[in-house]
Symmetry: C2
Subunit: 273 residues, 2 copies
């Protein structure tokens, strides 16, 4: 069957986030005395979106690194190369996920054609938030001002106000796991094609197991599983139409493996005697 006609759900994790490389205090490394952002390493993004509240809020909702943008764009280009038809895109409200969705769509040359639906229900298991609070996400208005292709008419299936800090595994399962399987959560369009869901490591594990009818894992196994999921890790579920069932199959594109790059201090390395 032609990949373009397949009805499928592609769930992917966001790309490399700045705090993954530069630590929790990444923002302090990049602020001048009068609070202006500048990059101290070329892997920091060249600028940050404008926000009405404090820049400080980016600490709980960090952006992609330049490498994360590269990863996202590359996956989008590979999907285009495989002629995968993405008919709709849902993203976690986390900035790193929205940016991943945006750059995947750019790679697919679908930006401005397919708009991103911000779905609060896709946010990470809140127990894993270091701040023990729900981050102040950028508003739809702020995202649009920063040139993100957002579907402004979409109302989240799970409202932002219902996200609870440090939620139990059971509560997380109610919005993202076995108790909330995909078909009712996401409106499948009448046309064939792939629904792209950009979320967190947790999304890959919970959404796809729920959709294919696998039982949810206990929370310890779940945490261990999620830790193994790299940037742009992907799971793909395909519909078996006659059986009204979904199965997990190989994603339409390959995995992405690359090495790390260390900071370089010419003074200590080249000059020392």
């Amino acid at each position: 069957q032609n990949a373009a006609l397949r009805r499928g759900v592609l769930v992917m994790r966001h790309g490399e986030r700045v705090d993954q490389v530069f630590g929790k205090s990444w923002l302090q490394q990049c602020l001048t005395a009068d609070g202006k952002y500048y990059r101290t390493d070329l892997n920091f993004p060249s600028s940050l979106p404008r926000r009405k509240d404090s820049m400080k809020q980016f600490e709980c909702d960090p952006p992609l690194s330049c490498c994360g943008i590269f990863q996202s764009r590359l996956i989008g280009e590979a999907l285009l190369d495989q002629e995968v038809t993405v008919s709709s895109v849902y993203s976690s409200p986390a900035l790193r996920c929205l940016q991943t969705a945006q750059h995947v769509l750019q790679g697919l040359k679908l930006n401005q054609k397919v708009k991103i639906r911000v779905e609060p229900g896709l946010f990470e298991w809140t127990k894993w938030e270091a701040s023990r609070a729900i981050p102040n996400f950028l508003t739809v208005a702020e995202l649009v001002e920063a040139s993100y292709d957002i579907d402004t008419s979409y109302r989240g299936n799970f409202p932002l106000s219902s996200l609870v800090p440090s939620e139990s595994y059971e509560d997380y399962g109610k919005r993202d796991g076995a108790a909330a399987p995909l078909p009712p959560l996401f409106a499948f369009p009448g046309v064939p094609g792939v629904i792209l869901i950009v979320g967190h490591g947790s999304s890959l594990a919970s959404l796809t197991r729920a959709l294919t009818g696998l039982p949810s894992r206990d929370s310890g196994d779940f945490a261990q599983m999620v830790r193994k999921i790299p940037s742009l890790g992907m799971c793909f579920c395909e519909e078996l139409k006659d059986e009204n069932k979904w199965q997990m199959v190989n994603p339409p594109v390959k995995t992405l493996t690359h090495g790390a790059n260390a900071a370089f201090n010419w003074r200590n390395t080249i000059m020392e005697d």
Copy 2:
């Protein structure tokens, strides 16, 4: 002094090479039974330049990975952002260096304006070549056919035929080190600006120490120093015109630090029970 008017020499190491990520047998992973190239991971380049001799020759002269292209482009864009005027570019004949030069120039929006001069004298210390032979580099004709912006009129200062396999450290020094300091090797143009030299880890250490008058290191220290140089590691030498001397200073752009990304096996990670 304005960076654009500075007379300087910027020496950089090439970007991430495929064999660094996928090992020496990378090409075997990417060939069909009838010898056609395809990528088995998205970090492999989408295609390889055409060459008259065997594809097998790429094993001794590997290309950049997609991540290496990203790194090179990012550095070029950062140099443009800092308004660095690159007046000429010299590259090692190794494919990874030529590709790095090409993508840095694209980031600088200087491709087609500044042509790459292929300088065999910039090749790595040949003792470090695993094959114990000089690789069959792509010819200038093959590079031009593959759309590389090559200065076809340039004749290497150190002819390719003079490169000796497994050369001694002393012989290496004669073409790249203290015995061959930069000014006679590279023709400084009459105009101010930066000469970009794309080479290997060894180039950073030997060329810049020679230019600034530092003594060369013994071969053990040299090897240890070179091992610390990351992809796109840079050294910058600036002219002190009144004193007719060169000094090593901070490069015009920051370093590039990013994390690794692991391959992802959805079957073992998500499906296992």
